[in-house]
């Protein structure tokens, strides 16, 4: 009897001691766009090290809010924080926040023109005028002049956009603001904007739904979504003047094209990048990490995880339809990760 009890006690002790050792839990919240690869990373890393991650993909806005309130260990966002937001976090949490780019995505323009099929080309001027409602017909001379050989119908253009706030919209409107002065004056950029024309669909699937159902429509969706669902998408004229199809390599090249203008805090909008082969509507997604943390164990865990994610973890990117970081950015990331410190 006594022996059994001791055995039981030993077993219980064993359970508790191992679990207390391995039960380091990191809570995060934020962007939905990188959720697929993040959950792959968290799962793989958990199996390797036993560290548990709990990530709520509630949207970038929610992630930023939770980082500001200090209710999570890290956040994630498709848009980098503004100066004002960074200041608020520093005031409330007593530590600056670091931006760590993890993977990249792109926004593509999907369309429904049965007589054209694949191969539509668009230039920044044409695109912004379509979304401003200034070009309304598919056979407008400005579209046909860059699409010689395609038989464009004399139908009205139906513009589709996201109705929900999203990082995709932020990248897309950020790009339009960069290439069109009129767009930046009249509409501007943000996670949701006051659209001059068009129909709104909820989520990528909502926009894709409108485009699929409506002949003569055009809408923007995430590259990953378009590839997975086999939607046709347009090539876009980049800053160097070449028409580029959105591919993962073209996205990575856009980031590489920005490398020499990369600010020290890695908060950069890489739309309309230099480089012959770079696709112009690309963007990073970031993890938001407190620079100084009060828990020593957590600091080590986060640093090791980040190091692993931006090096070994990147190999999962393409399989999950994300563009991996170019080597130059990984190097900058590793530098940044070193700055995370333990401070009481």
């Amino acid at each position: 009897m006594k022996g059994k009890l001791i055995l039981l006690a030993a077993m219980l002790l064993g359970i508790f001691s191992t679990s207390s050792f391995a039960q380091l839990k990191l809570n995060g919240a934020g962007a939905t766009f990188p959720y697929v690869i993040y959950s792959k990373w968290f799962d793989t890393y958990h199996q390797k090290t036993g560290i548990e991650f709990n990530y709520q993909s509630i949207g970038s806005g929610g992630g930023i809010k939770q980082v500001t309130e200090g209710t999570v260990d890290f956040g994630a966002s498709d848009a980098f924080l503004s100066e004002k937001q960074m200041k608020t976090i520093k005031q409330k949490q007593g530590t600056p926040v670091l931006h760590i780019p993890t993977v990249m995505g792109a926004v593509v323009l999907s369309y429904n023109l049965p007589n054209v099929g694949k191969g539509l080309k668009l230039s920044p001027e044409v695109l912004s005028d379509i979304y401003l409602g200034k070009i309304t017909m598919w056979n407008d001379s400005r579209i046909t002049s860059i699409n010689k050989g395609l038989s464009l119908p004399s139908d009205p253009i139906l513009v589709a956009h996201r109705s929900d706030g999203s990082g995709t919209t932020n990248i897309f409107t950020g790009y339009l603001s960069k290439v069109s002065k009129q767009w930046s004056d009249k509409v501007g950029s943000g996670t949701s904007v006051n659209w001059p024309v068009g129909l709104g669909g909820k989520g990528n699937e909502g926009v894709a739904g409108i485009v699929k159902q409506t002949e003569g429509s055009i809408g923007y969706v995430e590259l990953a979504y378009a590839v997975q669902n086999g939607l046709p998408y347009a090539s876009l004229k980049n800053k160097a003047g070449y028409f580029v199809e959105p591919t993962f390599d073209a996205v990575s090249e856009a980031a590489a094209g920005y490398i020499k203008n990369m600010p020290a805090d890695l908060r950069v909008n890489i739309t309309n990048a230099d480089g012959k082969g770079s696709y112009p509507i690309s963007g990073f997604t970031w993890l938001l990490i407190y620079k100084n943390m009060k828990d020593k164990q957590k600091v080590e865990a986060i640093k090791n995880f980040l190091k692993w994610a931006v090096t070994d973890g990147e190999k999962y990117a393409k399989g999950l339809y994300y563009a991996p970081l170019p080597k130059e950015v990984v190097k900058l990331d590793l530098e940044k990760i070193k700055q995370i410190t333990y401070k009481k």
């Binding site: 509630i58 949207g59 970038s60 806005g61 929610g62 930023i64 809010k65 937001q85 009205p156 139906l158 109705s163 929900d164 706030g165 999203s166 990082g167 509409v187 501007g188 950029s189 943000g190 996670t191 949701s192 904007v193 006051n194 659209w195 068009g198 129909l199 709104g200 669909g201 909820k202 909502g206 739904g209 409108i210 159902q213 409506t214």
Partner: protein
Amino acid sequence: MPDIQKSEQNRNEQQDKKPAASFFNFSIKNIFNKNPGDLIFENITRFFAFVVFVLVFLMAYEMIKASMPSIKQFGLKFITGTEWDPVTDIYGALPYIYGTIVSSFLALLVSIPLSLSVAIFLSEFAPKWLERPVSLLVEMLAAIPSIVYGLFGIFVMVPFLRTTVEPFLSKKLGFLPFFKGAPYGFGMLAAVIILSVMILPIITSISRDVMKSIPDSQREASYALGATKWETIKVVLSGSKSGILGAILLGFGRAVGETMAVTMVIGNRSDISLSLFNPSNTMASVIANEFTEAISNLYISSLIEIALILFILTVILNAIARLIVWGVTKKYSGALN
């Protein structure tokens, strides 16, 4: 024996003195005279009834508190403004208020005659073998999740509206302001149709139950006085007026609060237009669409103010309907006496 008499007497007294002085019924007299189990049960139910009050007021309080920044910033302009621009932090909710009210009212307009016809048929005409399966089907409509309605809307209804219904309407009735503009398929018309299908089962099944609960003796009395079938149905209808009104209210509540299915087909453009073809937006869908990514304080506060308006709107509509119900029942019981 005298004990039983006493307790019976006590119960009668209790019934006579219904409006209790205090909310919780713990007077010393009660503790001694009443079965303790009854007393505990009574007070537990009373407590939960009280919790409902607290919940409603707490929600209202929290919403008012959270929307204070936007109330201060915009005041009444929030309700009359038509511009909603998160980039420049200017918020006016009129297009959403308009969209919610118009889509819900039009859905009721379509749904009431349909569902009342079905309910009258089921309770007054249908033979037993038909009534059961039809009622079951109607109730099944209510159990379909709204996202399924939305998907049906996007993939089946919207293309049909765009290619067939809307071109037909604009050709035949295009001179009216209600059928102007390009036929997108997505828009107010699609939302109204989806909503009316969604609220049909609610109104139908409750109205049917209410009508069936009218005792047959009333129908027989009506026939005995020489009334026709139609006149008898009128008697049944007037007896179940308040119940039917309640059913319509519930349907309206569903229409006002419906988010997912509507947002999938309404086109999500904050325009105010008489045309049913025009894309529009509702209060519930703008909250669902934009809340997750709203970052600036004013933006969040404005979205919460929309929720507050939606809340107030439902309270007002409920109150109006209550008043109508009271009026109707008073008149009806007056006629009986």
